[in-house]
């Protein structure tokens, strides 16, 4: 039963891969890792195409396109019944994230081909993939929590062992950042656990299944909760997501973690781990606690604007490429928050709110691709030049035409150029959020100037202008380094031109969420 | 006529003497002796309680006495280990002054 579901395979193949990589000799370990990552990617695409050819209905939380549900832990202590189900499922909201995770892990394996201690590195990357997959696949809150924590361990090791040694606060940066990442995330997850347990016991259904909660809202039986209880639970759970997203003022772990993590880990961190927060926000906070998020929506909108503008402003004066891109992530994830806050507000046209939520979800996907690409590009430069300081470069497009092209492409995608993925999300989110949060959106739109400024200025200082002869021996990206870049670029263009394939994929899931919101809004 | 109170007072006095010895003496052997006195104070109290138990005849329940025997056994073992440690410390540091033995600080 369990092993006939492809979701199980998607989830646990990377673990098998981890063991296989550790067991195989170093020469073949890379290929083993690549094969496992590729198989997982293929499996996730299989799910996509299977549904796509059968009418393109990817379903919602209550009708996932594919799921497996079986009891895992069930025990009774006194009069407390604990049930944790092995409940995995993909719907329109989670499938893009699953595909993104599989794709980027595969590319990260290619990117990390020549790392030191490559066996352990790739094994941990695969382990990380499992943790993240679990978060996106779980439809049981406690299982979700479990995987949320599982993902921390490989990430901690990856940053701590393979990171950069720049000194920070009297210790090597990788140690500092690994601990900061771990403790900060852990701090948040404790509150999340409290929130989940509150939900579990308050609702008293002896199940932590997300479907159970939504059906209760939908049928109008919501034994929990006036909005005040919901708001409390929301705040508890949201704290974990806010840290992960990262939302101002909980964002400071991100620049540190990014600068000190090795390239591929930065890629995964920015492209996928941040999405876990955004995904959780939509999947759990929004779907299960609609009244709570509605109370918080105005604040969320304000925080979104702060994220967007504050993050972009800081980027202007960054000296380190990675740090700059890290802050740009803060800014771009603000757009997700803006879209969610618009959709969660208790007023405004339904069509606009759905558009805002769609924009936010598309932004999750496109930001994953674009920031992944940016970090890969920075990785190539820092591997070749052994520095990431923007000021020491100049005019090196002459030496690295391939990389310059792709990096410029990534920068343009990030600043929201039409025809590329970022624009779709930004345009939809901004135009629709305005109807709900006018002032906040107007303030946020100014990020268009700031984003263009910091990205183009960075590109100019690195690649264009007078050539700095110090770099006359610099080599361009080789084919192995270019492969992930080009693959991502292709996807970015495709999503940018035909976003409807993605939007149609996520629409049923989001419609369901907004349906719940309206149902609850009537109470 | 001996009453339970006599036993308890004796136990308390012994315990205080032992406590004073354990806390105030600087020689490790003396501290050990203080501890032994405290243990015996407890023994006295235990047996007192057991003997003067009015609810249940003591022939039925020998809990206090059994505890006392246990304590004596444990105290013997403890004394052996403690003395061994003291000797060992003395060999290393040429002192048995507990004020100077702070190898486990922080």
């Amino acid at each position: 039963m369990i092993f006939t579901s492809d979701l199980t395979w998607i989830l646990f193949l990377p673990v098998v891969g981890t063991l296989a990589v550790m067991a195989s000799p170093a020469r073949v370990a890379r290929w083993v890792a690549l094969v496992f990552a590729a198989v997982v990617f293929v499996l996730s695409m299989v799910i996509f195409f299977r549904v796509a050819v059968n009418g393109y209905n990817f379903g919602d939380l209550n009708h996932p396109a594919d799921f497996i549900h079986t009891s895992w832990i069930s025990f009774k202590a006194g009069n407390v019944q604990f049930n944790i189900d092995y409940f995995l499922g993909v719907d329109g909201l989670s499938l893009p994230m699953v595909i993104l995770n599989a794709l980027l892990t595969m590319l990260a394996v290619i990117g990390g081909w020549e790392k030191k201690r490559v066996k352990e590195y790739l094994a941990l990357l695969l382990l990380l993939e499992t943790g993240v997959m679990g978060v996106f696949l779980s439809l049981d809150l406690l299982l979700f929590y479990l995987f949320w924590e599982v993902e921390l361990a490989p990430m901690f090791l990856l940053i701590g062992i393979w990171g950069y040694d720049t000194m920070k606060h009297g210790m090597p940066g990788r140690i500092y950042s690994a601990w900061k990442f771990l403790l900060y995330t852990f701090f948040g997850s404790l509150f999340m656990l409290a929130g989940i347990l509150l939900l579990y016991f308050k609702l008293g259904g002896n199940t932590a299944s997300m479907q159970y909660f939504t059906t209760h809202f939908l049928s109008g039986i919501s034994p929990i909760f006036g909005w005040s209880w919901q708001l409390l639970t929301f705040l508890l759970i949201f704290l974990a997501f806010a840290i992960k997203i990262p939302m101002f003022p909980f964002h400071t772990w991100l620049p540190d973690a990014h600068t000190d993590a090795p390239t591929e880990v930065s890629v995964i961190l920015a492209a996928i781990l941040l999405k876990m927060g955004a995904y959780g926000l939509i999947r759990i906070c929004f779907t299960l606690l609609p009244s709570g998020i509605r109370e918080f929506a105005p604040w969320l909108a304000v925080l979104a604007a702060i994220n967007i503008i504050y993050g972009a402003g800081i980027c202007l004066v960054q000296k380190d490429m990675k740090r700059l891109i890290a802050y740009s992530s803060v800014s771009h994830m603000g757009i997700v928050l803006l879209g969610v806050s618009a959709a969660a507000a208790g007023f405004g046209g339904m069509a606009f709110r759905q558009a805002a939520l769609t924009g936010a979800t598309v932004q999750m996907f496109s930001h994953g691709l674009i920031t992944g690409l940016l970090f890969f590009c920075v990785g190539v430069i820092s591997d070749h030049a052994h520095t990431r300081e923007i000021a020491v470069f100049g005019g090196i497009a002459k030496k690295m035409p391939m990389l310059a092209t792709l990096f410029t492409f990534a920068g343009l995608a990030s600043l929201g150029l039409p025809g590329l993925a970022g624009f779709v999300a930004e345009y939809i989110t901004f135009t629709s959020s305005y109807q709900v949060w006018a002032v906040v959106t107007i303030v946020s739109v100014f990020t268009m100037i700031l984003t263009a400024s910091y990205l183009l200025w960075m590109l100019k200082r690195i690649f264009y202008g007078p050539f700095n002869t110090k770099w006359s021996r610099l080599l361009d990206a080789n084919w192995r380094e270019s492969l992930p870049l080009v693959s991502l670029a292709v996807v970015i263009v495709f999503v940018g031109i035909f976003p409807s394939f993605l939007i149609r994929l996520i629409t049923p899931a989001l419609s369901n969420i907004l349906h719940i919101v309206t149902t609850v809004g009537l109470h | 006529m001996l009453t339970l109170n006599h036993f308890l007072v004796l136990g308390a006095i012994l315990f205080c003497i032992g406590l004073y010895g354990a806390l105030a003496k600087r020689n490790a052997i003396a501290v050990l002796m203080g501890i032994e006195i405290m243990l015996n104070a407890v023994n006295v109290t235990m047996i007192g309680f057991s003997f003067f138990n009015k609810v249940k005849p003591y022939s039925t329940y020998l809990t206090g006495q059994i505890f006392a025997i246990f304590i004596i056994t444990v105290a013997a073992a403890e004394a052996a280990v403690a003395l061994a440690m003291i000797i060992s410390i003395y060999r290393k540091r040429s002192t048995v002054d507990v004020g100077e033995i702070n190898m486990m600080k922080w």
Binding site: V317, A397, K399, P418, G419, Y434, A438 | K105
Partner: protein
């Protein structure tokens, strides 16, 4: 019908060229280039080993280290490969076909010829569309649309693009980025056509940003070229960023305008928005709230301010001259800056539906920009920069035309000036490019300062005569195209009662005539030239310039013809807006207003003629320098009224200052709190661990003390708390 329906071919053909060149022929070009000869220097040898490095081959032939910097100015290859040539041919042929197609569309829709037997409906037809996202009232549809306005613009875009591409063959000879250049030109044309075909604000915005991208790529085409502070010139890389970001400032306004419109009406479609009956039209959706609509339209106009380089966002256009000259021609004549005008023309019904303030803002911004740019152009030394300011000034005219025309006349006058201006401005730039090209061959340097030109007419007669035609056209000299379009706008301002605008535009016309003839004489004529100094004279530079090759002169001649005759399309107003009153040449020539305008222009021309053919440049310069007032005015205009410097200060000290404060706030306050908490915890641990003294007796005291306290607590609880 099908004939019009298939016009999406025009739209997509440049994109096709772009893709084929970038991924096909350019790769071919790079793959077949001659390998670099390994020279003796180890540096070059190391470079020669990097065979996969494509730019390296672009950059150097068998040069030594010294010439590298010069090479960075404009990298050359020894000879063009077949791949590069094919790229150019491909771009030109496809653009030629698109151009012919669009001319046929124009002729067919004006019923000059009859191919389709179909009359294009007044509100146009949809040619291509696909959905992004549709949900209830929120629809994001990428849709392309063809109507008479689009056809007019399309003709301009494809014609100018075709000529510019053809011209670039000569101008970009042996350039290392030959194929890349042609692909970018195609992309630029495509972007502009997206705007042209836009059916809704979404597509308009897409094209809008793509134009920004293309200009960014083309202005920064010479990626390693250095800044020239002595000539007040930025590096192309900087100029490209400046162009992109400055226009983005306007785009923010544009975006907010779109958001307001969308939030109120729930649609992006121009057709629906303009409708008076549709509930989603602005007329209904903004009923009783026209103030908001006015604000929205002014914000939309901000986008045009940015793209069309109006005040206060003029700053990007003069530095944009750092791109290759054909690019300047394309930007100034047909694509980038025209986008703003076209957008206002496209949204004309929405402006008309808004309060009168909307049009007044458009007209006044245009007028003030026109005179500002004209004043600045008076003293510029750089040949291309004069043209840059003249473009800004002429765009101002177009906005005045759009602003004063009123709903009855429609966007005709503004578009008419756009139409004629496209030809003579393209001509001016291509002519300037021809001069720069010739001087580059003569001096082996890039010469753009007019002080180093002079008397060029005798070396390059075709360039000179065509340039003179363009000069007269832009000055509004009778019977040239600019005369009809510009005087029409000035006259309209008077007729519709905007006397302030009339005065400003009239003065600007005189200034325009002055600075254009000044530029002509400084470059092509001189004191000792023939025809009273207009033809030839002393050449102040080095070497011996020659006339440019045919690839360059043919477009010049064609454009010169267009510059004369484009003004005779008198049916344009009613073509663009059915029912509008057409331009009547009889009325034009009998109207005293026309002749006042002509008189002012002629005064400008005569003034320039007298000043620059009767006096030496040095003498004029000394005179200005010795007069305090003139010197001050000269500085003021030469420094563009210090707007650039103001912005530089603003960005450096305010924007970056705030950013620095933010960054410090982030490091020391936000992150400081995080680290502070961590330090508080570790600090507490450090303090508490001193309790562990390691002395057994202190532990024992603690233990028994604790037990004693607990015992007391329990005793108290048992004894006193019931």
């Amino acid at each position: 019908m099908a004939f019009y329906q298939a016009s999406w071919l025009i739209l997509l053909s440049p994109l096709f060229s772009f893709a084929v060149i970038i991924f096909g022929t350019r790769m071919w070009d790079l793959a077949t280039r001659a390998r670099v000869n390994a020279t003796s220097s180890p540096e070059a040898k190391a470079e020669a080993e990097e065979e996969s490095d494509i730019h390296m081959m672009e950059v150097r032939g068998a040069h030594g280290e010294e010439e590298t910097l010069e090479d960075d100015e404009d990298p050359k290859v020894p000879r063009l490969t077949t791949g590069a040539r094919v790229s150019a041919y491909l771009g030109i042929v496809i653009m030629g076909l698109a151009c012919i197609y669009s001319w046929l569309l124009l002729l067919d829709s004006t019923h000059v010829i009859n191919i389709s037997g179909y009359t294009l409906p007044a509100n146009g037809i949809q040619v291509l569309s696909y959905d992004w996202f549709t949900q209830g009232t929120a629809n994001y549809i990428v849709a392309f649309h063809l109507d008479t306005l689009a056809i007019t613009m399309m003709v301009v875009v494809t014609s100018v693009s075709l000529l510019v591409q053809f011209y670039s063959q000569g101008y970009m000879e042996r350039s290392a980025g030959y194929a890349r250049f042609f692909s970018y030109l195609s992309l630029f044309t495509f972007s502009m056509l997206v705007i042209t075909f836009a059916q809704n604000f979404l597509v308009m915005f897409i094209g809008w940003e793509l134009v920004g991208l293309s200009s960014y790529l083309l202005i920064g085409f010479w990626i390693n070229k250095e800044a020239k502070p002595r000539e007040d010139r930025l590096s192309p890389a900087t100029a490209a960023i400046e162009a992109f970001i400055t226009t983005r400032v306007g785009d923010v306004g544009f975006m907010i305008g779109i958001m307001i419109l969308f939030a109120q009406t729930g649609t992006f479609e121009f057709g629906v928005l303009a409708s008076k009956t549709d509930p989603h039209g602005v007329a209904q959706a903004f009923a009783g709230n026209s103030g908001l609509l006015t604000v929205a339209m002014i914000l939309v106009f901000c986008g045009a301010i940015g793209k069309s380089a109006q005040l206060p966002l003029t700053v990007w256009l003069p530095p944009a001259m750092e791109g290759p000259t054909p690019v300047s021609a394309l930007i100034h004549a047909a694509t980038m800056v025209a986008a703003g005008v076209y957008m206002v023309a496209r949204t004309f019904p929405l402006f008309a539906a808004a309060g009168p303030a909307a049009f007044q803002v458009v007209a006044w911004v245009g007028a003030i920009t026109a005179i500002y740019a004209a004043l600045t152009a008076l003293t510029q030394r750089d040949f291309k920069r004069v043209l840059a300011f003249s473009t800004i000034s002429q765009l101002g005219y177009m906005f005045v035309g759009l602003g004063v025309a009123g709903a009855a006349l429609g966007p005709g006058p503004g578009m008419f000036h756009l139409f004629t201006h496209a030809f003579f401005k393209a001509l001016l730039f291509l002519g300037a490019g021809s001069v720069i090209h010739a001087l580059h061959h003569a001096t082996h340097r890039e010469v753009q300062e007019m002080e180093k030109m002079g008397g060029l007419a005798k070396f390059m007669p075709i360039t000179a005569i065509t340039w003179l035609v363009a000069t007269l056209a832009i000055s509004g000299f009778p019977f040239f195209s600019g005369f009809y379009s510009k005087d029409n706008i000035i006259g309209l301002a008077y007729q519709h009662g905007y006397y302030g605008l009339y005065a400003v535009t009239l003065i600007t016309a005189g200034l325009t005539a002055f600075y254009m003839l000044r530029a002509y004489i400084l470059a092509f004529g001189g004191r000792d030239g023939r025809v009273g100094g207009l033809w030839g004279g002393t050449y102040r530079g080095e070497g011996h310039p020659h006339e440019s090759p045919l690839t360059i002169t043919i477009p010049l001649v064609l454009l010169a013809i267009a510059s004369i005759f484009a003004g005779y399309w008198t049916g344009m107003f009613s073509y663009i807006q059915p029912g509008a009153e057409n331009l009547n040449l009889g009325v034009v020539f009998s109207d005293p207003l026309t002749w006042i305008g002509v008189a002012v222009s002629v005064v400008g021309l005569i003034w320039a003629y007298v000043l620059y053919t009767r006096f030496e440049l040095v003498a004029i310069h000394d005179f200005v320098e010795n007069n305090a007032v003139l010197r001050f005015l000269h500085r003021l205009t030469l420094r563009k009224f210090y707007i650039d410097d103001l912005y530089t200060l603003f960005i450096r000290y305010v924007v970056l200052g705030i950013s620095h404060i933010e960054a410090a706030f982030d490091t020391y306050v936000v992150d400081g709190i995080v680290n502070g908490v961590a330090q508080a915890v570790t600090g507490m641990g450090r303090g508490v661990r001193h309790v562990e003294t390691g002395r057994v007796q202190s532990y024992m005291a603690g233990f028994f003390g604790g037990v004693a306290i607990l015992a007391i607590v329990v005793f108290v609880l048992v004894a006193f708390v019931k």
